[in-house]
Amino acid sequence: MSHQVVPLRVYYLIFATLILMTLITVEVAFWNLGLLTFWVALGIASFKATLVVLYFMHVRYAHQVVWLFAATGFVFLVILLVLTLNDPLTRGWQFQAEDPGMSIFMLR
């Protein structure tokens, strides 16, 4: 835990950014970006979350162990998401069967 007192203006600055990003994310949602829409929304949300973690939750000023713990949660969440979605995203993939020797390398 930090004994360092974060200056108030940092809090206000972060707050203003968060509100601004909320407005932007609403605005961007109405642009037709195709597949990008989702990634932009995810990017903005992650940016906001990072600000909250670093400044409101004081991780920016905290001991390394806290960094480690915060990162661990994030990394395992990504593992859960990526390896689970790995299945439905690739269900349509077909593998060539005629040439057994090469079969695992070829996509049809």
């Binding site: 162990v65 395992f76 390896l83 689970t84 439905p88 690739t90 593998f95 695992i104």
Partner: protein, 539 residues
Amino acid sequence: MSNTALTEPAENYLTAGYGLKSWLLTTDHKRIAILYLITITVFFAIGGFFAVLIRMELLTPQGDLVGSDTYNKLFTLHGLVMIFFFLVPSIPAVLGNFLIPIMIGARDLAFPRINLLSWYILVIGGTVSFAVILFGGVDTGWTFYTPYSSTYSKTSVSLVAIGVFITGFSSILTGLNFAVTIHKMRAPGMTWFRLPLFVWAHYATSLIMLLGTPVVAIAILLVLLERVFGVGIFDPALGGDPVLFQHLFWFYSHPAVYIMILPSMGVISELVCCFTRKRVFGYSFIAFSSLAIAVLGFLVWGHHMFVSSQSIYAGMVFSVLTMLVAIPSAIKVFNWTATMYKGSISYETPMMYTFGFVGLFAIGGLTGLFLGTLGVDVHVHDTYFVVAHFHYIMVGGAIMGYLGGLHFWWPKITGRLYNEAWAKLSAVLIFIGFNLTFFPQFLVGYLGMPRRYHVYPEEFQIFHVLSTAGASLLAVAYVFPTFYLIYSFFKGEKAGANPWGATGLEWQVPSPPTTFNFETTPVVTEEAYEYSKREAQVV
């Protein structure tokens, strides 16, 4: 620490209070460990009773002892009790709870009240789950596969789901407590690389408990919601996909296997060093392989789903990752073996369990390769081959480690010595009984006998007869320790602080330890397992 012989203190943690209240409201990690010991022994007996009924039923192919509904409830309850209420808490909650603070030179765990709370949660979760027996049992298998569990089963799935959900929090809080304790409560000089490997193993275990348990809690909660409110989450008739449940379930339940085996590996690392009187071979490799197992263990769950209609590509990813997780386990086994090289090996009971563990775990681990290999797993998936494999890991591995550890630290816990002859006899009987029970199951599994079968084709009978014979021996052998250990608690010879001549802070405090473990905070100045520097010091 000085090596002065310890005089017996006026009061130890066992004599610090006698009333029921002094036990039920205790925050002493050692007393809580005893509470856990009693609780999980009861759970083990119940789960074992179900196993005996299962084995008796399978003696004949016809299914004549119990009906198919009863049989299905028996294997479900056997799995549920053994996994959630015995194996997951076993070594961490009993031995870990008792030893981690002492091993790292702390007066208690970081959060003693949370520690007591997790015991109560386990008891409440257990009570709720066992209440289903009164309400007609549950027949989904411990895996709760949807849509059978969420829509079709007519048994008390909801109640047991609540029980398991509650129990999950016991595990989470234990993991939280251990992880924080190991980070923050180490005595001066107790650096990470001076920690006993038992502590490293528990650190890795608590990581899995923290990260995996919430996911299975949510998976089970979703089943409960689907069942109670009829909303479609997993049932295709309601718009969902049952395969999602399998993903969420195995995300926890595969790493849960490592919750069971990692602490056992930690115990074996201690025992090998003590009974060879040598520093462990490749300390940092064993320590990091624990962490590697914990992390890689989260990447392989899909190998339970090779025939589930998961995409072929996903199957390949999970298969190659499964191959990777085999490596750290192999590293550990080789390092233990190398530790024995040029050692001074004695054959006391804990070492007998160590030999047993290495043999059985090797078989269990190597047969895992068949299951991680895509082409072969298609054939052996959901057969007795799988049953045999995970019993080799979870009974042959985890319980051998648990019993070995219990025998090793029993003099520390109770201050008394048990009868060595009886203990050796039961160790040998457990080893023989275990192999007789489960080795035939590999054969009948490759023949194609599916698991969870109440009646089966006649040509498989001989394997089941062998298995049941082994199980009878195993059941008797498991009862022995209950008697001689309890006897020793009252009548056993006084043990002294360090009956094995072992290193480690826990052997430098009196047996049984005092309530706050150390009179003054110890300062650690040497590596773990410095047996060569130590005088022959059996106290």
